[in-house]
């Protein structure tokens, strides 16, 4: 007894530690395949029958319906009928292989690219329980998420909010700000290891079609994923196939400028890649860093054949889906033409200065911007391509939106080449 008393405090410490360790282990058990009584990771018809009969007897002849039993049963039925009776292995774009043992009932979507692609795949948004700050800040394009809990941004995620929403899965970026993505994933999973953190970028032209396939697999929209990826690849193919026939030395010199005056792009930036895809030759491709602020005289010296100006962010935060008034865009356009010395630039002399909105030059809609660029760079080669028509098809068929481009939005200026 004396020895027991002496070591009582030690026993207590071990006991508390045991409970602390057992907690997460017990929680991890929730990730097992529902109805899989023998643990062989396969729901047999006998296991399904036992669950159905237990449920029926409990509901109609016993104590009434048990919600946990019913949830297990419906999840088990989903796995049995949709996943060929076993867990589903999916892959995200960060290289993770994730095993899903139940369908995703509650999802948190941090980035707008994922929310938009979800819509392209026909995913029912009733499963989305929380969204990122930037999705909520775009009520014209994402009206379905107005009033939904805000989980913050990739720069400042609201972890408490995310955990309080009890999601089955949280969707974040894959490689965009990669260390930040890792940090977000680690923090979420340290708070609740049962939450799947699935990572997709869904904005890069080189990988978008592949990512759509992976993402569609994760949310059980494989058929829709194939259909949408075919549409996307067809549009991109229209550009890349025709551009491939244009010799390198015949590519049009292009000057690109974002919302800040003389802030251009170079190799390593997304804008440069899109210009190159559309067959343009970026006059500042070799500049450093990726987004260099260039000397105004070097633009005159570069004498671009086409000038592109980006609106929709920073100082030029207008245009796009949420704007029907083109007066500010026209103002920007006219100020470009009046810049000192610009009347000597070929692009200005030939009327080939264009304003493009970030709504169609970034994110999943980058292909629309690339189509516009291609038609501006090579009007004869792309005479049969109408980017606005393709944009409307994307909105109507894949975004399931009633947004009418003929009466709304400012995406490019001038509207005709």
């Amino acid at each position: 007894m004396k020895i027991f008393g002496r070591y009582l405090s030690a026993w207590l410490v071990f006991f508390i530690l045991g409970i602390a360790v057992a907690g997460p282990v017990a929680a991890a058990d929730m990730g097992d395949l529902p109805l899989d009584a023998d643990g062989d990771v396969l729901i047999s018809s006998d296991e399904m029958a036992v669950a159905i009969l237990d449920y029926l007897e409990q509901k109609y002849a016993g104590t009434g319906a048990d919600s946990i039993l019913y949830n297990d049963l419906t999840d088990g039925v989903y796995v049995y009928t949709c996943w060929n009776k076993t867990a589903k292995t999916v892959h995200d774009f960060s290289g993770q292989t994730v095993t899903l043992t139940r369908p995703i009932h509650r999802a948190v979507v941090m980035n707008a690219e994922t929310a938009e692609t979800m819509r392209s795949l026909g995913y029912d948004n009733s499963a989305v329980v929380g969204v990122g700050k930037y999705i909520l800040e775009d009520p014209v394009f994402f009206p379905e998420y107005v009033g939904m809990p805000n989980v913050g941004s990739i720069w400042s995620p609201d972890y408490e909010q995310i955990i309080s929403l009890s999601p089955d899965a949280v969707f974040i970026y894959a490689d965009f700000m990669d260390t930040k993505g890792d940090e977000i994933q680690e923090t979420i999973q340290s708070m609740n290891p049962n939450i799947h953190v699935l990572r997709y970028d869904l904005f890069e032209p080189d990988t978008y079609a592949e990512e759509v396939g992976l993402f569609a697999e994760a949310i059980d929209r494989e058929e829709e994923g194939t259909d949408f990826a075919t549409f996307y690849t067809r549009q991109m193919g229209t550009v890349t196939d025709r551009v491939a026939t244009i010799p390198e030395d015949e590519r049009v010199p292009v000057y690109f400028e974002n919302a800040d005056d003389y802030k251009s792009c170079a190799e390593g930036s997304g804008y440069h890649d899109k210009i190159t895809l559309a067959g343009g030759k970026n006059i500042f491709e070799n500049a450093t860093p990726s987004y260099p602020v260039v000397n105004p005289e070097s633009v005159l010296f570069g004498n671009p054949t086409v000038v592109l100006k980006l609106q929709g962010s920073g100082k030029l935060d207008f245009g796009g889906y949420g704007d029907d008034d083109s007066s500010k865009t026209i103002e920007v356009y006219e100020s470009l033409l009046e810049r000192p010395g610009w009347n000597t630039i070929t692009a200005v002399k030939d009327g080939r200065v264009h304003i493009i909105d970030s709504d169609i030059f970034g994110g999943p809609k980058h292909f629309i911007g690339i189509l516009y660029l291609a038609t501006w760079f090579y009007p004869d080669v792309f005479a049969d391509v109408n980017p606005e028509e393709i944009h409307q098809e994307y909105l109507t068929t894949y975004q399931h939106s009633s947004y009418d481009l003929s009466s709304h939005g400012i995406f490019v200026y001038p509207t005709t080449a």
Binding site: S45, I52, L53, L56, A61, T74, V77, Y78, R221, E224
Partner: protein, 221 residues
């Protein structure tokens, strides 16, 4: 479904009345209509049958569990209870009999049903149909009440099967209740629209009418 059939019938009756009214004044047109009224009626009836047939097929294939019961000839108190499940299996069935029941034979494996006094619970998993030969002396006269649930679609419903003193079996299903299944389950093949079928039937019927008219004209000349 009933609304749809009623609407079609009303449309046909209205159409016939309109034709009659519009033709009353012009004797020659009325005669023309009277001459081909059989063919016109045939076309309308064919369209009606096609519509009803397609609707019934669609209703049967979409979801739900259908039941039927017949008494076994020469075996008093014995019945064959059959059920047919739609594509949205698995489903569960809970049947309550008016008295003690025993199972003579069944197409379901033993693991998929439980008999407990007056109640029978069974699970339809991969089967499209199943049947039970049961013995229940209290069923004549009596009522068997059946509750069913589909776990993929979230649909549930109930059916009552009554046996009269004379042994006549009557099945009544008041309707289904949707609880809403997983809306993000992978897409399935969509039921084909009956429109194409109706158009085909109308074209074939009109072609037949033209051939018939041509022959009649040929005969009269």
């Amino acid at each position: 479904m009933n609304c749809r059939i009623r609407r079609i019938i009303i449309t046909i009756i209205a159409f016939r009345i309109t034709i009659r009214k519009s033709f009353i004044k012009t004797k020659s047109i009325l005669n023309y209509y009277m001459k081909f009224r059989v063919i016109i009626s045939l076309i309308l009836i064919t369209v009606l049958i096609t519509c009803v047939g397609t609707t019934v097929t669609a209703a049967g294939e979409n979801s739900g569990v259908l039941f039927s019961m017949v008494s076994v000839t020469g075996a008093e108190g014995e019945y064959i209870l059959s059920c047919e499940s739609a594509e949205t299996r698995p489903a569960g069935i809970f049947a309550t009999f008016p008295g003690p029941v025993s199972i003579v034979s069944t197409t379901l494996p033993e693991s998929q049903y439980r008999l407990n006094g007056n109640s029978l619970a069974c699970a339809i998993i991969d089967e499209e149909t199943c049947s039970f030969q049961i013995n229940c002396a209290d069923l004549q006269p009596g009522t068997l009440s059946i509750l069913w649930e589909e776990f993929a679609s979230g649909l549930s419903g109930d059916t009552e099967i009554s046996v009269s003193d004379a042994g006549d079996v009557a099945v009544s299903s008041p309707g289904d209740t949707g609880m809403g299944g997983n809306r993000n389950s992978p897409s399935v093949t969509v039921q084909q629209s009956p429109f194409a079928c109706i158009v085909f039937t109308v074209i074939v019927s009109l072609a037949a009418a033209c051939v018939y008219t041509g022959r009649r004209r040929g005969d009269s000349q």
